[in-house]
Amino acid sequence: MSTFVEEKDKLPGWNRPPVIEPDGDGELLEVAMGPHHPSTHGVFRMDVALDGERVIRLKPVFGYLHRNHEKLGEGMSYLGSMPFTDRLDYMCPLTNNWAYALAVEKLTGQEVPERAEYLRVILGELTRVVNHASAIGFLIQEMGASGTPLMYAFKQREKILDLFEALTGARMMVNYMRFGGCRVDATPAWLGAVRKVLDDLPQFADEFENLLRGNEILMARTQGVGILRPELAVNAGVTGPMLRASGVNYDIRKVDGYGIYNRFKFRVPLGEHWDVYDRFMIRLLEMRESFGIIDQALKDIPGGPIMDPKAKLRGFRPKPGEAYGRIEGPKGELGFYLISDGGPNPYRYRIRPPSLINLTVLEDMCLGSNVADVVLIFGSVDIVLGEVDR
């Protein structure tokens, strides 16, 4: 009888994980890294089989933070799920709001006014800056640079979170977007404050690059480590900076052009070496592209309403049907899939979390590397456990 892997070998496009043979005749050491390991920033376990320092097998175990989000969403009104989406990927709540609002708007066929679209772009790109800066900070911290780069990133993040608070009322749990627009309008003073923060951002990116880019220790630790081949990345459904670091040109802002993204000029950085260093650099470069998008949006933002006048806040019943709203979240393709049976709450509510799907290739990237590199490769995936387990 053939094994599962042998069966799979016959399929075209199936990338068999390389089998690492232990050398010598020592026994394998099985280690449970996590659920409370400092590198996992959350509760996540990796069951690793080691031959000395080399990783022979790695099994990711998740579910420690399961909160029943999807089932809860089926039990409450469409509006009621909106604040819960903030708590999925709590580093970037605004993009979660956006993806969910997009799915419901597709379901009900609502239009979003111009001004609200621009506000969404500004907020979404600010979120991307926050996420990428802190992702790099965490990655470097896992390398041993305890604190400094992370604190530099958080210093900048705090300024952007103050902007979020001034507009939405909360730093992280924003609950800002609504079906058919946004909740509150931005004042000219707020847009001025965004402009002021934006003017400082390139300087921050320069500072961050000076601090890290040429660092010999960083290069020695990251270059050639955790290689993810583009074929495997595509087959596994990896998206976001991870996929682009593997050299695949796929950005939903370009491909789908949701919202008004086809009006903005920006470039999509791609990696050449598919390793951890590329993932780090892609995030730095994407941050700089985001500055450009915010700049263009601030210049063009029109006046007018921020809510579709026909939009209902509560008690609406979409026609039976299904909708899938997806956006390019900071971590990858974030999608919300909704099925309506004509009732006031969704019949099925499903999330495609980029963090979870990017994590599925962890074993393939880690096989054969040292234990210390596992921490680093895991950090380069950039996950938030709130979104992995939901």
Binding site: L79, G80, M82, P83, G169, A170, V184, E216, R314
Partner: protein, 224 residues
């Protein structure tokens, strides 16, 4: 040169370290209990109930319609309706909540209750130092603990409160105008009471005039 990148990075940290002595902008933290960051106007924490006037119980705007209770995502609001009615701010008899509890240990500060409230009766507070030693009762607020005056609302969210007041004044003016019109109509009816046949005759006279265009329209259809 090997180590150039590290030295460059260290130069950056040295610049930040030295800079923090001269530039206040590089100092990002504050000593919390003694120093406080400037409050941001839009900040929200937990809900409170707004009342007008001096007496909190008489002035509560809430009419116990229970929309917030129904829409609250974590279901932290508990309302009991009154069986009798008492006059509200407009003088209209209304049902009021005999119990209005919010468990703020469950509340997630999403402000959906504020958005769905048709009476501007529930708003978000900015108070965040709410720690208590009582694990169970201490965070379950009843309506007396939740009641805050409209003046207090003006001090924490001035812009928003001014908008709400303007909207309420407009509604009140509309209601008063309507009441006045109703009173005038009632008075006219009372005055016309003895001479009842007259308006009836007028109505009878008006009826054919009103139906005439309809007849015309149906004729037009036939022609078309």
């Amino acid at each position: 040169m090997l180590g150039e990148g590290i030295l460059k990075g260290l130069g950056e940290t040295a610049r930040n370290f030295a800079g923090s002595f001269v530039s206040a902008e590089r100092l990002t933290t504050i000593q919390y209990p003694e120093e406080r960051a400037a409050p941001i106007e839009a900040t929200r924490d937990f809900p409170f109930l707004v009342y007008d006037g001096a007496d909190w119980e008489a002035g509560l705007r809430c009419v116990a319609c229970q929309i917030c209770e129904k829409e609250c995502p974590p279901k932290c609001i508990y309302i009991v309706k009154s069986t009798d009615k008492k006059p509200d701010a407009l003088g209209k008899p209304q049902i009021y909540p005999t119990r209005f509890d919010i468990d703020i240990s469950v509340c997630m500060s999403c402000q959906i209750c504020v958005e769905v409230c048709p009476f501007e009766a529930i708003k978000m507070d900015t108070e965040f130092e709410l720690s208590t030693t009582d694990r169970f009762g201490g965070l379950l607020y009843d309506r007396e603990q939740l009641a805050r005056s409209n003046e207090y609302y003006h001090t924490i969210h001035p812009t928003e409160a001014a908008e709400v007041d303007a909207r309420l004044a407009e509604e009140k003016a509309k209601a008063e105008a309507k009441a006045k019109a109703a009173a005038v109509a009632a008075a006219a009816k009372a005055a016309a009471g003895p001479a009842a046949p007259k308006p009836a005759a007028a109505a009878a006279a008006g009826a054919p005039a009103a139906s005439a265009p309809a007849v015309k329209a149906s004729e037009g259809e036939k022609q078309g």
